[in-house]
């Protein structure tokens, strides 16, 4: 009996990476799982939009002005389909418009957050590594950017660049890289004082390889958390700018523009034109924030290990 149990307790090494551990811990929260599933559904619907919706809301030929401002549940004049969420002022099916709007919102939000993350992280690492006047210059620039009200900065940049999806993304990148840069710099400065960096230097590994291969992987957890929350921020900001009429063009409405378009009908009981895009925006932001909050708990070294 004893021999058997000894034989079976041979230690087995399961190479569980920090990421796998993180995934296991992430699963511990039901709300986070709900948020993640919701987010995946939203992303999937947005990605597959052309195959899901009845109508391409950007194709003016498919729109019928006679169908304008129909309440939710009304049948199409030609009888082909039902406007489940009603129609807007141009006779667009709101459900189709919302799904296409989500597409733009997600694309702008995720795209700008990722580009800002890459640029900001690289500048932050450069700042930490170079030190001296490079560090001073970059960090004062970051302070400058973070000290201005975001909306004011965005309005100024967009007034200068003009409308368009690309310009909105560019604006968001300009406004957001500073957050990543500051975090990456702080984290890299902390990590560069750790002994494993000395050990790597003692192995004759070059400075570039130490920064990218050793320090950057240790800086990633807080950057991922910021990334998740910045995506939500970018989406709200884009909606705000579009609502103010400075974001995406009127022919390709994002959620913010749909809300703005319906705003004038709010008091004439045609609530749905603003309400449903607003609801879609709300659900998306909540889902991203649920995931982001859980990531923050999982990746926060002060709460773990």
């Amino acid at each position: 009996m004893n021999q058997v149990s000894i034989a079976t307790t041979k230690p087995t090494f399961k190479a569980q990476s920090p990421w796998q551990r993180g995934v296991a811990e992430f699963k511990g929260s039901t709300t986070a799982i709900v948020g993640l599933v919701l987010l995946l559904v939203i992303v999937l619907v947005a990605a597959l939009a052309p195959w899901i919706v009845f109508q391409n809301p950007y194709d003016l030929m498919q729109l019928n002005v006679l169908d304008a401002r129909l309440p939710p549940g009304t049948a199409n004049i030609d009888g082909g389909y039902t406007y489940w969420l009603g129609t807007d002022g141009q006779g667009r099916d709101l459900l189709s418009a919302i799904i296409y709007g989500l597409r733009i919102s997600l694309w702008v939000g995720i795209g700008s957050a990722l580009i800002a993350a890459v640029i900001g992280t690289m500048l932050g690492l450069l700042s930490a590594y170079a030190g001296g006047w490079v560090d001073a210059l970059l960090m004062r620039l970051v302070d400058l950017l973070l000290s201005f009200p975001v909306i004011l900065m965005a309005l100024m940049i967009l007034a200068w660049l003009g409308k368009g999806v690309g310009n909105v993304m560019l604006t968001l990148v300009v406004l957001e890289w500073a957050y990543y840069a500051r975090t990456a710099r702080g984290q890299a400065l902390t990590e560069s004082r750790r002994e494993y960096v000395d050990a790597a230097r003692g192995q004759g590994i070059g400075p570039w390889r130490i920064v990218v291969g050793h320090i950057l992987p240790n800086c990633l957890p807080p950057l991922i958390v910021i990334g998740a929350l910045q995506i939500a921020r970018a989406i709200t900001l884009e909606a705000t700018l579009s609502f103010l009429g400075l974001g995406v063009p009127i022919t390709e409405p994002s959620l913010g523009l749909l809300i703005a378009n319906g705003f004038q009908y709010m008091l004439s009981d045609e609530y749905w034109i603003s309400f449903f895009p607003g609801l879609a925006l709300l659900i998306t932001i909540v889902a991203i924030n649920l995931v982001g909050d859980r990531l923050r708990d999982v990746l926060n070294p002060r709460l773990q290990r």
């Binding site: 190479a15 590994i205 390889r209």
Partner: protein, 337 residues
């Protein structure tokens, strides 16, 4: 395993692997200049083991870091030469120095928890260390890493290679760190208290393995420690440091059996031993001086029973026999006090 010999390496019995001459390293802090290492000279022949002994803050670690060129701001080597196989390391460019670091001179650090990158697997770190100096494919580098781990008595090295540092015990981690130092069969290894964080049985195992490997490969080893008993069993030579200076140097037998410097005498007296059973251990009175406000003359004078007026001057390092040095105006065995 044998590394290619570069043109400048001409190992001969006469040339020491490392010859440090008058090395001084200071830290230029806001509170003032902190002379951590002052006028340190030591040399080590191929295949010899030197124990660098001293209490915390005596400058022994900074000496090790200075040799390898790893002193960070605000610290700076302020004088002296570090001749490694005849080349002065303090004059090399960063690139030339990197070619030697980890390759011909390796370092083992104190805390195995900290010296391995926590988010990278052992194989990632070892393969990178191999490929920093040898143009091998990843598979070849991995095989080499696995062989080196096996040298240190690590069972199933391929499995350990796939592990993350936190999955290994402290002793295992330190073996990995030592294996990384041995990857390129360096000519000199500087070990900074690598067994201090380990329990005594693991320490004994690692000491005997390191000793065996160093002897086999003809590597010179500097073992930095505060533990005289470790040095007694491991090293050939001893250098005792106090307040940034080497106060006594010689073979292990000479220094431990007939210590000449009162500080060395004090260190030995403060250790329990068979011959002193039942007696109170003698301790050295007072505290190590503050490096920022160092007294003029002998730094040990304030704690020394032999101190005289002469000790207000800095005692020169005097040679008692070949390789046997002491820095004291009143050298001698304890009985002569």
């Amino acid at each position: 395993m044998s590394a290619p010999l570069s043109s400048f390496e001409q190992p001969s019995a006469a040339q020491p692997t490392l010859d440090v001459r008058g090395l001084s390293t200071s830290f230029y802090t806001r509170a003032g200049v902190l002379p951590a290492v002052r006028d340190v000279s030591l040399s080590i022949q191929p295949g010899r083991i030197l124990g660098l002994v001293g209490e915390s803050g005596s400058g022994k670690s900074v000496t090790g870091f200075s040799i390898l060129g790893l002193v960070d701001e605000p610290g700076r080597i302020s004088g002296g030469q570090v001749l490694f196989q005849g080349r002065d390391l303090t004059l090399l460019s960063p690139q030339e120095l990197r070619n030697l670091q980890g390759n011909r001179i390796a370092m083992i650090f104190q805390d195995p928890m900290m010296t391995l990158n926590p988010v990278l697997r052992i194989d990632t770190q070892m393969i990178e260390a191999v490929r920093a100096h040898q143009p091998l494919s990843r598979a070849e580098a991995r095989a080499h890493a696995s062989r080196t781990l096996a040298l240190l008595g690590i069972a199933s090295p391929d499995e350990r290679l796939r592990a993350y540092p936190h999955q290994l015990s402290g002793g295992m981690r330190q073996r990995v760190a030592i294996a990384i130092a041995l990857l390129h069969s360096p000519d000199l290894i500087i070990a900074d208290e690598p067994t201090t964080a380990l329990d005594v049985t693991i320490q004994a195992q690692i000491l005997s393995e390191v000793q065996k490997l160093v002897r086999q490969q003809g590597t010179s080893l500097i073992w930095i420690t505060h533990d005289l008993s470790v040095v007694a069993g491991l090293a050939d030579d001893i250098a005792v440091m106090y307040a940034g200076r080497i106060v006594e140097q010689g073979t292990v037998a000479a220094v431990l059996d007939t210590p000449q410097h009162p500080y060395t005498q004090g260190l030995i007296d403060s250790l329990p031993s068979r011959n002193k059973r039942g007696q109170r251990l003698r301790q050295i009175p007072g505290m190590a001086p503050d490096l920022l406000s160092m007294p003029a003359g002998c730094a040990f004078a304030a704690r020394c029973s032999r101190a005289s007026e002469a000790c207000a001057q800095e005692p020169p390092s005097q040679q008692l026999a070949p390789g046997r040095w002491v820095r004291c105006f009143h050298p001698g065995a304890a009985d002569e006090q």
